[in-house]
Amino acid sequence: MIRRPNTVAVGTIVWLGSEVMFFAGLFAIYFTLRAMSGDLFASEAEKLNVLFATINTLILLTSSFTAQAGANAAEHHQARRTGGMLQFSKWGMIEWFFLTYAMGATFVTLQVFEYIELIQHGVTLSSNSYGSAFYLTTGFHGLHVAGGLFAFLFVIGRAYAVKRFSRKEATSAHVISYYWHFVDVVWIGLYLVIYWLK
């Protein structure tokens, strides 16, 4: 029996390919504006709180590993934990995804605080081209993270809704982990470009 690729997984990968092109457009905006006004970008980027963003990046990066742990648990059709609350090795998909959700929510919340600090320093969406580029790229990424959080809740809800955790629920766990890794990789790109290259 030849094993065929899961249609949901293939569809998700193709859609993520189109998402790559969406973020390609945003990166292109950032680089074009930077090429046109390098001095402005250099002076505005000085206002960034790089340490804060680095900590936030680490939180999102770690959440990718917890999401993968949840997807692996789903692969073994293990929806709930079989041990105690603190026995991580016996956690099921639900526990790992709740932890991932908490980390993703922390990332978005901290990003809001970062925005508040920048706005107080006069960097806004309409202040200049740097503000526009910064908020467009990080803002659309933040929206993707927020959307992913809803998706995690949907997948967790599906695990609660069934008596027996089947192939179908495992598939939704896998595709949300694909999406989460994609969002994570995009952030690493954004982080390197915005906070390191400046």
């Binding site: 030849i2 065929r4 990968i13 790559v20 292109a28 074009t32 949907f154 809800g157 599906r158």
Partner: protein, 139 residues
């Protein structure tokens, strides 16, 4: 599946080369400046093909055999797979579209529509995601 992977690899290499040629050509014509839109756009089109191609490699590895479409002696009847689970009909996607339309309409001025559209979107998404878990279609 081998041919699909090879086609994706050709597309990827083609766009990486295009990106390199475009960058060098622009630098040669315009005093060494890089035009980022084209360079990134072409390069990431290559990344797009790489992503899909790499995924197909993983699928091919776990496939354990060739599809009938990839065999010279394959018949149409050999390729009659289980395609997966599909809804016979569903109103929910239409509702999602209507809610999104309301949200986008709100961007033109009537911003009070945003929470209404958001609430509708949430209802429609929950309805769609759990369509086969509760009620008429539940298993």
């Amino acid at each position: 599946m081998r041919s699909n992977i090879v086609i994706m690899a050709i597309i990827a290499v083609f766009f990486y080369l295009c990106s390199a040629v475009y960058t060098v050509w622009h630098m040669a014509t315009y005093e060494g400046t890089i035009e980022w839109v084209g360079t990134l756009g072409l390069g990431l089109t290559g990344a797009l093909a790489t992503l899909i191609g790499f995924y197909l490699v993983l699928v091919y590895r776990g496939q354990a055999g060739e599809f009938a479409a990839d065999r010279l002696d394959g018949e149409l009847d050999d390729d009659d797979p289980e395609m997966g689970h599909f809804a016979p009909w569903s109103w929910w996607p239409l509702g999602v579209g209507a809610a999104m339309a309301l949200i986008f309409l709100s961007f033109t001025g009537p911003t009070f529509l945003i929470p209404i559209g958001g609430a509708l979107l949430l209802i429609m998404m929950v309805g769609w995601v759990y369509e086969h878990y509760r009620g008429n279609f539940s298993r």
